[in-house]
Amino acid sequence: MSARKSSGWAPYGLVAPSLLFLGVFFAWPMYRAVELTFTKADEPGLTLDTINRATAEASFGEAWRNTLLIIAILIPLQFALALAMALLVNGRLRGRGVLVYIFAIPIAISDLAAGIVWFSIFTENGYLNTVLVEAGLLDRPFVFLNITTSWPLAIIILAELWRATSLVFVILLAGLQGIPAEYDEAAAVFGAGWFTRLRKVTLPVLRPSILVALILRTILAFQMFAVVVALTGGSTRVLAAESFRWFNRLRDEHVASAYASFILLLSLIVVVIYLRVFRDAEEKASA
């Protein structure tokens, strides 16, 4: 871009509304979440009472365990699948346009609808049981959504895999499209096999896209709510659903905000970890 004279006050006028808006509807509630976490109703001053009330319930540990477990299993699976999908469509393939459309559809599907969809499949008299019984693999329908088993967690992961892999797919595919074909060809000329090219050429160039997708996806996964409610009626505890339960059923906005703060804290920690890991990888690659 050519050097130009500064545009005076105009740009500040243009960005000011967005700053003001984010101040009121983003920064302020964020501050307020932390404030509510360390205070309690009808009593001035700071207190750990609210946090103690949250931790006193068995659901506290369950919510943390389930949220972290689901994410630890979901995210790697999701990225492997999304990368495979992106590589598949990035190559020469008939009907690519249609495939991109199909692969991208779930982006526009809400977590609530996704939860209901998978409920319809896994419910006791649903189609999965029908197929299994008709095929003679089961004598009678199996209760998949039994919260004393690990099945609900597996089904939540499957539903999230179905719904949210598309977002990662689109970001990775956009990244892939930005890689000049010459890179791959050059590596091929020097005799690099498909897998070596993927590992040594494609993935390193794709790193910024992967980082963006990882951050967006993990933050969204921490807020997982409607999928869980639709599948198990809220019997499977996760952090965001706990926040809603304390707000909606127990009418305690302090503990509900405490859960919001936990998710806030988790998000910050994860972003810092991701940025560190990627910076180290960058340094190692350039060293």
Binding site: V15, F21, I105, P141, F247
Partner: protein, 277 residues
Amino acid sequence: MRPRQGLLGWLVTIGRYLAAGLVSAFILGPIVVIAYLAFAPEETVYLFPKPLAPADFAFSTETMSTFVTATGTLDALWTSIRVALLTLVLALVIGAPAGYALARHPFRGKDVYRLGIVATRAFPIVILAVPLITYYLRWGLDDTVWGVAFLHTAMALPTTVLVTSAVFIGVSEELEAAAMTMGCSRFGAFRRVALPLALPGLAASSIFTFVLSWNEVFGAAVLTLQNPTLPALVVVQLNQSPVPIRFAGGFFLLAPALIFMLIVRRYLFNLWGVKLK
């Protein structure tokens, strides 16, 4: 990818189509199931085992019409549409000028601003609905269309700013400069030259904002009580609803996704800064 020769090449090609078919089936299969269950007679939904032969499939709009005519559904639908449209307009009116400034003007603090906008996407904004409601009660914004739209705008705004900035970078600045040498004012050049050229990109961004608002559950459920959006209504009543009604509601929420994607699929990659070749 390089075309390969011989049997191996054939196997790889077949494998790729097979993989594409499997992933498509994984995505479309569940949509077909819910679509059928939403339009199946009520008995079929409770029936076990369910009919598998195509000849046994019966069609009925009974549960869908029960869902649509149930108390609150149409009101919630109307609320959802108003919230989504309001969010779309707010995000565009507040976000697009900032995106334009990022694309066109050098100014002090620009990098800090851009970084700040990027950083907001790393925060769980939806969760902030709970602390926000304590203020809404004071401001009289609780249980209103505006209240929900403000939260959704906060969610959509960072993306709107970044996307509109990319859109305006894609619109040649020389054209605007040319219009100004021919006597247009800065704003006139923007309105007559840059805006029309940027319109498709802005429209794509707006559709995404609409979808985001249409799909959002947690915040809407927290911020509303008597006037819920459709997802908020469905999620709050979910465990009391009979199963056929849940399926009808699920499909009703899902169906627009198929159409949204059909419209924006050309712009999907513009939104992430890259065009599909």
